[in-house]
Symmetry: C2
């Protein structure tokens, strides 16, 4: 088992059978000690964040697999804070796909002239490049295609999958009286047919969720979602 | 004749017949005394810039009208630095449409991970919002539609017109041995049928042009283009 990538919130190890092992860490993204799912830096370390994130990821990925939505998930070991996944090729050097149900975060910062904070958005999808140096710039379908990152046909699949998965997560949260404002996904190409599949994780660290109009921190969200 | 808008590089007056008069000023956009067509501030004042910009605008708009491409242009008076135009409704609070033939400027700043300076781009179109406060953020077709700024059908027309006009300008420049790197347009809805038409201007201040690999300043470009 060799470490192949040390990430902000996860480390990645290669396994002998060709699959990969993700080790969830207790670091979450943010700035100056404040959690922000859109941030590029590790903002704080929260004990138990890794396991809690993995538990929620396991819950959602198993649900998605049941529903026939392609993901890289194989299995998870909560004790070890690890998840086994299929190998995936990312698009370019990695993209993030955001599904928005209410106007907050970078959407509001960019389009505040035309939208109010918290305004409902209909599963609005946008893509940003993973590029810390350039603050994860937003990118259009045309630019993704032209720069050879994602074809137009792949974009259609990606957008459709994003809205489907976003809606599933939103419904799951709604069962606990929680409202999903936005969520960030990563996708990759899996298998010989380069099928587009959800990769990475689905945890509190990837989304903004509110209960009774109040923002819920990732650890609290994971607790609310997984308690009986 | 009443002034209705005082712009960075032009003032706008309403005429009694319902049309508008644009008065070209000697100010050009830029920062710290350096011209930059993508900048939001007046960077410098260049004597003769207004007339030179108008002369080139007149040249291109008359050419476009001959080719049947809809514009707001009626006529121009070089002596007075004025142009008479039809009334147009802008999209939202105004958008800018950029057509790129080589990777420079904000495109390079955003997508430098995937492109090199000067890399050829095939009449690549992108849209930014006119919003000084938010540094003219780029916006996707989906967001333009969702925010009620531009419908999907209008976007198709806009993109097509942009590439057509960009190609015409590029060809005209090529006749003088000049290469167009990128150009910025504004469009509006004109007449009872809300036909999408080119508005504003086409001058050195809206484009980046190079000759023998060397950047050409707006005034120099206008001189090169209009001398016999």
């Amino acid at each position: 088992m060799n470490i192949v990538y040390e990430g902000k919130t996860k480390d990645v190890y290669s396994l002998e059978d060709g699959n990969y092992l993700l080790k969830f860490k207790d670091d979450v993204t943010g700035e100056n000690g404040v959690f922000d799912p859109g941030a590029n830096t590790v903002g704080l370390t929260m004990e138990g964040a890794g396991k809690a994130g993995l538990r929620l990821t396991k819950h959602f990925f198993e649900l998605l697999n049941e529903k026939g939505i392609p993901t890289h998930y194989i299995d998870a070991n909560i004790e070890e804070s690890t998840m086994t996944v299929k190998p995936a090729k990312v698009f370019g050097n990695g993209i993030e796909v955001i599904c928005r149900y209410r106007a907050v975060g970078s959407f509001l910062r960019r389009y505040g002239m035309y939208t109010e904070e918290g305004q409902p958005l209909d599963a609005f999808v946008e893509v940003t490049l993973k590029d810390d140096l350039r603050q994860d710039p937003p990118i259009t379908e045309d630019a993704l295609d032209m720069l050879g990152i994602l074809s137009k046909d792949e974009y259609k699949v990606l957008k459709n999958l994003t809205q489907k998965i976003g809606d599933i997560v939103k419904e799951e949260l709604a069962k606990k009286g929680i409202e999903l404002y936005d969520i960030k996904f990563e996708f990759g190409r899996i298998g010989q047919k380069d099928e587009i599949a959800l990769i990475d994780e689905i945890s509190g660290g990837n989304m903004r969720a509110y209960k009774n109009g109040k923002y819920i921190e990732p650890l609290k969200l994971e607790k609310l979602m997984l308690e009986d």
